[in-house]
């Protein structure tokens, strides 16, 4: 295969691997803070135990997150040197700032992890706050670079391909920065909430657990459901704004997302199906009349551009329509699940029946799939450009051979590590079950 394709595949899979851990790294500290604060308010030692157990899980995840982050951080320069040459001139600032976010997270994570028992409660909570802040800041800052790739700003190209008139802050506050950054942070929060709900529900589905243990998992589930509902609502409201930004700045990407070929007013929204080039429409989809026009700019008569406005060589692959639908579909399903769960608890005041627990179990993995779909949509939907309308992917990539060999090496590594993390988490929590910790607390 050609080197450019290999480089894209290697980099895309490395990010796809990193993001699994990174997402948890952004969301979990926030859940730990919630547990710490509930412990402080309610004086219920179950919450302290929750914070402690989540921290153990977090430490294991964090190791892979940092290692894979180091890989992508270095690999982006190795595989896309011409891209980084422009990044270094125009949008270096968030990369630089991110370093300090990492440092804050690393320093305070060590403190929280290895010195928690020697710290007064307040300093302990300050430490985990700093961890969360570091993680969120690093996510926001890297998303800034990514947003800038989608909506580049703050420089001019010279006729010979050089860069002039760099305006660092215009690049930093590029048009899609704020919406994208919020979207990433909210979606990470909701994903971790649903993962916690999955684990708690899985435990509650077991028959032979003690009442104390049952209560412990119920509390975890409740936190997760409430936090999940709030953050999934935030994700979709802000996702709507993200889509409006596409309408404004990246109409080509929106057209591909929706499988719209002809420019239309009163455009319908197609849900599901696949975009067919021969038929020039989305086949097997459910169509909601006028909805796309309304979503794009809050008016039914909005004109939405179709793909045929551009030469076909500038289209992204048509399957991004599916990626987009997967993300939005899962987001909508999870909101429904969370609303239903809250209704069940607050209005009907009933215990969750097993079939609902089973739904919660599915929630975590689904949210993670939505994250992957979202990122892949955003990056693949940008093709053939690495920096929209500025730098083509083919020009950005390295020309070195040997990428094929590295691809095999790293994929092996990622697969092994996925299994290894699952195994270590299982091994550790099996040897230190909640029941044992609860007994220790009681005695």
């Amino acid at each position: 295969m050609d080197v450019v394709v290999m480089a894209r595949a290697l980099f895309g899979s490395s990010l796809g691997f990193h993001i699994i851990y990174a997402t948890i790294g952004v969301g979990l500290p926030v859940m730990i803070i919630i547990a710490e604060i509930l412990h402080l308010i309610k004086k219920d030692s179950d919450y302290a135990l929750m914070a402690r157990r989540w921290t153990k899980g977090f430490a294991i995840i964090l190791a892979v997150s940092i290692a894979s982050g180091t890989i992508v951080g270095v690999m982006i320069s190795l595989l896309f040197p011409n891209f980084m040459e422009i990044v270094g001139q125009v949008i270096a600032l968030p990369f630089q700032m991110e370093i300090f976010a990492f440092l804050i997270e690393a320093v305070f994570m060590s403190i929280y992890l290895y010195a928690a028992d020697r710290l007064p409660t307040k300093l302990r909570i300050v430490s985990i706050f700093a961890v969360a802040l570091g993680a969120i800041a690093s996510a926001v800052l890297i998303t800034d670079v990514h947003a800038w790739m989608n909506t580049p700003a703050g420089f001019r190209l010279t006729p010979d391909g050089g860069i002039t008139d760099v305006d660092t802050w215009a690049a930093f506050f590029n048009p899609s920065f704020v919406t994208s950054a919020l979207h990433v942070v909210f979606s990470a929060f909701m994903t971790v909430a649903f993962i916690i709900a999955s684990i708690a529900a899985l435990r509650l589905l077991k028959r032979n657990i003690s009442t104390e243990e049952r209560n412990y998992h119920k509390k975890a589930l409740t936190i997760a459901i409430y936090f999940g509902l709030i953050t999934s609502l935030a994700t979709s409201i802000n996702g709507h704004e993200t889509a409006q930004k596409l309408h404004e700045y990246n109409p080509r990407k929106l057209a591909a997302a929706e499988g719209l070929f002809e420019t239309t007013r009163y455009a319908p929204l197609s849900i599901g199906g696949y975009a067919s080039l021969e038929d020039q429409r989305v086949k097997y989809a459910i169509e909601i009349p006028y909805a796309l026009s309304f979503l794009a700019a809050d008016r039914f008569d909005t004109e939405v551009k179709g793909l045929n406005e551009w030469p076909q060589e500038l289209w992204p692959p048509l399957y991004v329509h599916i990626l987009f639908n997967v993300m939005v579909g899962i987001g909508s399903v999870l909101i429904v699940i969370a609303m239903f769960a809250v209704f069940w608890k607050l209005v009907l005041k009933k215990e969750y029946p097993p079939w609902m627990l089973a739904l919660f179990v599915a929630g975590g993995p689904l949210a993670m799939i939505a994250i992957e779909a979202g990122w892949c949509f955003s990056c693949i939907g940008r093709q053939p450009w690495t920096i929209t309308d500025v730098l083509r992917t083919g020009e950005a990539a390295t020309k070195s051979g040997s990428v094929g060999f590295l691809f095999v090496l790293f994929i092996t590594l990622y697969v092994t590590l996925l299994f290894a993390t699952a195994f270590i988490l299982k091994f550790y929590f099996k040897r230190n079950p909640v029941s044992k910790d609860l007994e220790k607390g009681a005695s």
Binding site: S77, L78, Q89, A92, Q96, F100, L406, F410
Partner: protein, 341 residues
Amino acid sequence: MEASSVAITILWSLLFVYSMLGSLDFGAGFWGMVYSNENKNTNASVIANKFLSPAWEITNVFLVIFVVSVVTFFPFATTLLSSILLVPVALGLFLLTVRTTFMVFEHYAQRFRTLLRITSGVTGLILPALLVSILPITLGGFVDFENDYPRLHYGELMTHPTLYMHIAFGLSTELFISAVFLMDYAKEAEDWSAYHTFRKHALWLGPVSILVAVLTIGTFPVEADWIVQNIEANWLWFGLSIVFFLIGYSALFLKHRDGKRGFARLAVVSIIIQYGLAIYAYGSAHLPYLVYPDLTVADGFTSASFYPMLIIYAIGFGILIPGFILFWKLFLKDRRYLKQE
């Protein structure tokens, strides 16, 4: 000073910090493996791992800082550097990942302790070897252009003695610095069995590391004549570096009132100064080239967002200072941590 000189100085300082932290990190991994057998009558492994557990993340961040700083200060260097370094650096990343994850997994699954320790110990040798092999590549003679595209000649590099001397230099330095540091750390923990173990190793590693360093210069390829001349011109600084080595090394022999030998803290500080002087002297001898003869510091540099970045550095490290102090107090000074089983 010109902006590009400020930038290269910052970069070089980061390299210095990383080379010290990396030596401690990789060295501790290695010593942790050597003394991992619980029957041996020394706590050396416990001490090494006590340092490693909270510290590796910070060391890792400094590696990332270094790479990001190269790319953001010297974007025009990315194309050349990444083409010639793709394979060695990617292999390094692979090993680093294995090491990092195994080291952490070990904490949570003690049944696999031996396997995981061996991994972190062995990578503690291979990784620094890989990292120092980047140095000879920049000296000239190993890189060529084919159709305007740079290529690294692996064959010539692998068969040149200077590669192996550089590796020997890197390893002896790593082990020497980490032994002296861990000796001081063991003293802080009042763990005398570990103290004597590390002192013993520091005693032989010191002279070996100096000898290897001097011999390495003798193996530089002919194309690197330029830097040998610059090094000779900088002899004063290298001489001063040797003086600090002598001070630090002698401190290992000084006797305390209670009869114990070795002023560990003095030794650590002098040896850090020794390497600081040597690294800056080497760095200035390397100027004006990043990679001889194709890339100079000025060619690689961009001033586009240089000043905002300097401000970010100042603010960033400013914010972090309290964090570092807390870290120092909790892990390098706190007896409750040091003496914990």
